[in-house]
Symmetry: C2
Subunit: 241 residues, 2 copies
């Protein structure tokens, strides 16, 4: 029995927002985390963009992605300082204003105590009509505007929030196979092309490795259709041997 590659499969575009990543001040931890977790969930990450803390770039990217992907996940830029522009930018992307969110303000006030001030209020100024996903284990809620899921940028807060809500993001895990060949890519190219045409539900990749001699090529196959994956591997492996 074959399961067709369904067009209703959940897809994601991830927007990693922060000058500090592009300038190399801090390594990006949120991008690799999302890649790993989305793979485990069986959700297809189709695009990952690292953007500066600049509203025009964020507005353009959100507008471009919102209709193309099931979810747009953003990280970063939701704090109280001058370089935190994600929330107003996303509001503008959808033509909405910002509104003080009473519940979020109350929780912030509880948390910050005497340090709760006007600047802290900025963190509770959300795009009008935003929903909050807030589970017990989270330090900071996910702010949801249309299909945009807005996460904090601090990696510890981001990963904790993501894991708390990940069950809401439905996926369908992939099965994967790989083997290594001593042939070169030009020698196996025709077989790879034919296999990718015969088994259109199997995504085939080839990756040359030059670190050690003899040079090798890693051939990978992935699919949600286990029968097709097995057939494809049985056909392809001997032709690359």
């Amino acid at each position: 029995m074959r399961t067709a590659k369904t067009s209703a499969m959940a897809t994601v575009a991830a927007l990693i927002i922060g000058n500090e990543i592009l300038s190399g001040k801090f390594d990006d931890e949120n991008g690799p985390f999302l890649i790993r977790r989305l793979r485990e969930l069986g959700v297809d990450l189709k695009r990952l963009v690292v953007l500066p803390d600049e509203a025009p770039a964020i507005i353009e990217e959100v507008r471009s992605c919102t209709d193309r992907y099931t979810y747009v996940i953003t990280t970063g830029g939701v704090g109280p300082t001058h370089d935190d522009v994600t929330l107003p930018a996303i509001a503008e992307a959808f033509g909405r204003g910002l509104e003080r969110h009473a519940e979020l303000g109350r929780r912030l006030a509880e948390k910050l105590g005497t340090r709760f001030n006007e600047a802290a209020w900025r963190m509770a100024e959300l795009p009008a009509g935003a929903a909050l996903w807030w589970e017990e284990s989270m330090y900071w809620p996910v702010v949801v505007v249309e299909n945009v899921l807005i996460f904090p940028g601090v990696p510890m807060l981001m990963s904790r929030s993501f894991d708390a809500v990940s069950s809401r993001i439905a996926g369908s895990p992939l099965s994967a196979r790989r083997f290594t060949t001593l042939k070169s890519e030009p020698e196996v190219a025709d077989a790879l092309t034919e296999a990718s045409q015969r088994w259109s539900t199997v995504l085939i990749g080839s990756y040359p490795r030059y670190e050690a001699k003899p040079h090798t090529v890693i051939i990978t196959m992935e699919s949600r259709d286990l029968d097709a994956l097995n057939e494809c591997e049985a056909w392809l492996a001997p032709r690359c041997g």
Copy 2:
């Protein structure tokens, strides 16, 4: 003496092309490498996009970036197999055809010997009018189309090619400062805003750290204007103490 933040400063958009990165089969090594090297060169990386091996996504991104940034750097998708679509996609982005590049074909034939076949020729089919940057130490040339610099995706080849041509990419290194405060972001937000207005050539960032108690905030300042950087630090540090 102040040096104005010049609008002629070199900027880069990096396009990391490869299903294997988005699906988590392989960690991205080229993105972090470019972030590090561009910082050392003093070139501003303004955008980093990880794209699948799909021509429409590459075409759209190249068209969008070519007029906005000094250089568009791509990695990946230049091999001989079915999933290598970068060269035809970039040709299409500029409305050019593909042409077999005689010199590249000759070099490939020398390198591959009896394994040089029709599939291998695909690697030498370049956008019409492309230039090659090819230094002694490189295993694979940089293919240059307008302001797009096309690198291979295999990290060892990519880094070797980049280092061989990096002197052609002119930059102006930044100076950086940082300090840590025990205050919270809301408490220092007003001072950060004022400093970023007073010293517009200084890029100021703030990054909360929650890994250990007491929680801290790292304040960073960067500029190509050393006088402004020193003044800004001297003004800001005591106000965050």
